[in-house]
Symmetry: D2
Subunit: 446 residues, 4 copies
């Protein structure tokens, strides 16, 4: 009889962790490691799907410590042989010819890459590998030696989650509840407070798009929320207010505003997805609504308040700034203090009641933070993302986000980034070389 490949793995995984005897549990790691070696062996090749399924079934039963031990084994037992690589590199350096190059490439690739490719042959393998990387990323802080192992995971996942393999799908009120539940759960920018709140964001003048991978059906990888509006918006409240009526007249849609983008898979951290999603959504909307003339974001500035607290006081000591700019920033800082902007007061700032000078001082400092700090390690992560994608810093918005989170992180300030495909290569390159492209209005503030 032909034994189903799935039998062995299923049989084993059906014995859950807690029911395993201490002795069986201790044996488990050895079995996983032996399975990995068998999977990479010539002998295992003929039966690799079944072995991969078995190994993944066993892996699922490992304790946290065993998982760490497993990753260490990946590092020590499944890396390239230093001597062999050196030999191959020398031979190639002597004569850079095809056969020698092929030998070198093969010698230099860590065998764990092939191991992961073979594990991926099992049904559901991709999801397990993403889970492995998630665990690995958590361990990395205290286990820097695992960096090379993690790099191999990232390398493969980047290849497999190539945007050419991703499917963009619109998420709307006809989507399965199971999927919508994940959207609610993963929304990371402007919290979705239940189904009524979500529903507003899926009505005809709001859109939500997600990337999916064929191997992970029903699992959004990343999603972006868009508002179709007549003008570039200055505040997020009206965009997501569940009580607001949707705008029915499609002819009014002139501006597509990306107001939230959230990753759903921590195990895919570092795999470029958001950049591609924003651009593919923009194209899609441009086709659907040819009258759209502006694609922009309405973004939080999550690092501003912390920067103000931690880095602004040290501005005077900075020597990397143009004198005029430094003077402008210091003046704003002084104005801030003078008009009541001490930390404690800012913590309970009510934007609507702020004095004009205070407001001006804060805006100037935010402009400085975004336009100058974004090219430094002190910069804002959201600014780095959009500027790195080739967007332009467009407009600061006072009182743009009056939620508790918005006030705490950025004193209610928000910012628009503008996506103009004709210029994104240029903007991106200038950003890489340390220059932030900003609108005239923002330039004038500094």
């Amino acid at each position: 009889m032909f034994l189903s490949r799935s039998s062995p793995a299923r049989r084993r995984t059906s014995a859950p962790v807690e029911q395993r005897s201490p002795r069986a549990q201790a044996r488990l790691l050895n079995q996983v490691v032996a399975g990995c070696h068998r999977l990479l062996s010539e002998r295992g090749e003929s039966n690799s799907v079944a072995i991969a399924e078995e190994v993944l079934g066993l892996y699922a039963g490992l304790t946290a410590e065993q998982r760490l031990a497993f990753f260490k084994v990946l590092d020590t037992e499944f890396g390239p042989d230093p001597k062999a690589v050196l030999d191959a590199a020398q031979r190639y350096a002597e004569e850079p010819e095809a056969t020698r190059l092929m030998a070198l490439v093969q010698a230099a690739e860590p065998p764990r890459q092939e191991l992961l490719r073979r594990l991926n042959r099992a049904p559901g393998g991709t999801a397990v590998i993403i889970g492995m990387r998630r665990a690995l990323l958590d361990l990395l802080k205290h286990q820097p030696a695992l960096a090379a192992v993690e790099a191999d995971f990232l390398h493969l996942l980047s290849s497999w989650f190539n945007p050419g393999f991703l499917q963009m799908e619109q998420v709307d009120w006809r989507s399965p509840a199971e999927l919508l539940e994940k959207i609610i759960q993963h929304e990371a920018v402007h919290e979705i407070d239940g189904w009524a709140d979500l529903r507003r964001r899926l009505q005809p003048d709001r859109r939500c798009f997600a990337f999916f991978h064929p191997q992970l059906p029903g699992e959004p990888l990343i999603f972006v929320e868009v508002a179709l509006v007549p003008d570039m918006p200055a505040a997020v409240g009206p965009l997501i207010n569940a009580r607001d009526e949707p705008q029915g007249d499609e002819r009014q849609f002139k501006v597509a505003t990306f107001y939230s983008i959230s990753n759903c898979q921590p195990g895919l951290k570092g795999v470029s997805l958001g950049n591609f999603l924003i651009k593919r959504v923009a194209e899609h909307l441009q086709r659907e609504f040819p009258q759209l003339h502006t694609f922009c974001t309405l973004s939080p500035i999550p690092g501003f308040a912390a920067w103000l607290h931690k880095h602004a006081p040290g501005l005077r000591e900075r020597d990397d700034l143009a004198p005029k700019l430094k003077e402008r920033a210091l003046k704003a800082l002084a104005a801030l203090v003078q008009h009541g902007g001490e930390p404690a007061a800012l913590a309970s700032l009510e934007p609507a009641k702020a004095s004009e000078p205070l407001r001006e001082a804060l805006c100037t400092l935010a402009a400085f933070y975004l336009a100058h700090e974004s090219v430094t390690p002190r910069g804002d992560p959201v600014a780095k993302f959009h500027l790195g994608n080739g967007a332009r810093l467009e407009r600061l918005n006072w009182a743009g986000d009056l939620s508790r989170k918005g006030l705490k992180q950025a004193l209610g300030l928000m910012v628009n980034y503008l996506y103009d495909l004709r210029h994104i290569e240029d903007h991106h390159e200038r950003f890489v070389h340390g220059e932030v492209v900003a609108s005239r209005a923002l330039q004038r503030m500094l």
Copy 2:
């Protein structure tokens, strides 16, 4: 306005090859190469999908000579830097630590791999890359220096066409005509002579399964045809005879016989697919029909007649054979000649009329060919495939294939290989080490 990424490429590809001026044509290769460099540059990263689409659009217009030139550029301009690899290898050999390993891995990977990954970001990129490899494989014979470039294509395609990413689907009479037409066209073992012929092969007691990749919808990669029968079949005629009535009683299905397997994508040559397909189909059928007790093939022996002509005469000079075996083979060879088996006579052999001694001599030589030559370069390609998958050589069938092709290639002989998952690892390993596992009956013949 947000310009659609697809516009530039489409605009250019819309100017077909023949309408291009000689000057424009000459410029094309430069543009393709420049586009590749731009795509790999930091600057290009922000706009990579659009650039990839443009490059692929331009590539489509290259002439055959320009394509060769392009592959040479991939070899010379997009390979790793020998000196940098050597440095990295030395540093790693000195201290095999994570950072150094990561630097080494990166230095050793030919940049054209990342180039291909980025080209793959364009819609339809995967199909173009497969087409590139197909062209490259054709050129390889006369351009051995391109072997390393080809290896990189194979490496990436193997990763992307990992069986974990492939979808197995049944092909039947409800499948789109467009797909069925491709099945007719690609059937490589037992020709399908039109739609009536195909129809017989899709009835309930015959099955056809194919692998698909999500990125190539409607494009079968490889397909296998199966007959569900009461006993292991000895001849292919009854399995594919369009006039035969299908066997309706499913309880009679005891043996699943793979009688044809065909690749549809020359550009995926060398990517392991058939092995996985056979095993996944077997599992699927075992679930559907638990009463199936045997999974086997009914296979051609495409190299037998040629071997008889070319290699059998030299048997006497061979010194790699056990004396007894050699004696047995030489005796059969003598019997063959004695009973009228000279080449000219064999070419018009009618199996039904062959004398018993002639038949015996041919069967013995075929058994020798399959059981011993399969581990040598002289071996049969189909035998190598199934034995390498861990199957067992099971039974020789006289007059198994009376088609013109069957007579020409193997004098009408066919063979069954038996798949028994409990033993495939073992069989595979023994095969790798030079031993063919055969049934007792076949062993006795030698």
Copy 3:
């Protein structure tokens, strides 16, 4: 140029009701009626889809009074001609022969039936016709003369919503949110309090099935909720408690309990749906879980408290009851009063604290209500439904529904009806002839 059929209707409906001038509004009814006559004319037949679409577009703009007037026109202008029918009937009575019968059938069918069939040719026609009947049902109380018009609607809708045309589909957490929202909204028995509450009812040990009609995609017609449990349940609380964990072990599923059934389309009132749905679901579940041995309901007794208040006091005057039974019921009634069961006290009854005699008196009276009153106009609507479907009265459950509604309607009592397909024809027939089939235990109570 070929004018699209949809143009005229769309153009008109695009002028919404409120923007219509009083004069235009007054003209509208005439236009609708004229359109109906045109649609039924020989001339209109060649263009009926376009005319139907136009008429439905105009109908959508009618005010409530105009709709009433329209239905009156259907009654007076689109009924059969009394004289013609009489002639045809006489001719048929003289000689009941095929041609005369055909003439009679045609003469007797109200022309509005053909009118409705032609209106149904327009896209979306079925939904509008269901909406017409909904409006008509509301008017019927004060407009008894419209009964024959209403009967024609019911006749056609019953034919079109024949169970042979309905699709049963499982509703679960993968269903579109849009559909789930309708389930929440239409649940009529045990209110669904938001999405978390709904989710519990869609987990593996709870099922929900609905009927759909191909012409009304995404619109559930009726749905039933089922609990898969080890034993016949006595209380609804545990079945729908959102905090309860689902029962994961399918082997424990022995009893399928229908605990809620709700109609979604008031315009389909009187079209038999629930009976068919319950039986088709039972079959489906029996196939999925062969170990299920009991199919029953856990049902409310919505009319019990009202009956106790209104009809129980008159029991003594009843002369349709067997003496023994009457005695039993009167004794229970006396016991009820004696142990504090006066109306005001019952209104705030706490089942858990009720005295044994009170409980016994109430149960006896409920048994009497269900087993005897169900065949009278005083009977319980839910009892009439299930007993009419051929189910058996199985068990009374004290404190089965402690919700405010359950206490108010039935003092917390619930009842199980048992569906046993081997006996439903017999039970149904006995019910039609005035007999309720009850379990021995219930018989013994009386």
Copy 4:
């Protein structure tokens, strides 16, 4: 245990006709009739789906004679009661009030209508009922007494196959082979000679659309083939020539020509489908290609040669014709004879070699046949269909169909009918009143 409704029927149908004993076979009809009565009884209502399934299972085993007997039972035992109808008609004539009307309508409807509606509740019931009507239509010629039974089938099927319930779908090369095979088989106008021939008719400049009913998935009811061309075509050869290349430039599509329409379900004869299909396809194409300015047919004249042979000689005796017209026709008839148009010669006519006078005479007679005979029982069935749909007689085409069938039926002549939605009501009405609307050119010929 809940017995599946399908068990009884399946069990019985599994005993095939030929294995039934003569006695069992004789009993079968009684069982079917008894089942029908039970299904209509009050008792049967609670279990109607199971009973319907059982009856249909038994019906499948009836012999041809038993089927006839069954239909006679439907006539005699399931018709309305003459006396009851007469009473109801009298009561209604006395006072045409709602209750009396409802009683009348109910009394006059033959009970077999409700019987068919209940049989339709079984899975697959609709297909069986269509099959019953097919058998009934065949019997009708010799059994005129069954006309009223047949009328009831037609009445119900017309209601169920209302165009509002039909789905129009495009059939193309991506359609299932199973469906395409049915298209090949049912094409009734211009035979499809195998798959290559079919393929030509599904390419982008040719279209095929079919109506489907949700209850008969994969079963086309009727289909129409369309050619998208620059000008109104005069010959069918170029439209269906498999060797012709498809016209790729969509901007050239100005005329949509319906060149073939075929019914697939003999059991639906008389249910209006073609008229609706043509108009829905026209709309669909107008939306897809707004530049289309003409919708016409290229139609055969299947009755022309037979008319010429049988009816033309009697023209002189006709007194229903205007004198001028009669004179014109007789003159053409004389010219025909004079120029060699005697029957034997016409039978082997080669249109390309016909003399101008012969050609003129034939065209005049064809124009007469189409423009005048179409409103008489002698008329052409295809002409009656399109003119009855409101189309206009547009153009005669000499040598339009040179196939054997085209030459035999119409001496190679073809005709275009023009569909112009703005005028179809008017044209249809005039046709109903005996007038054929023709183009000026055609009018001038007479």
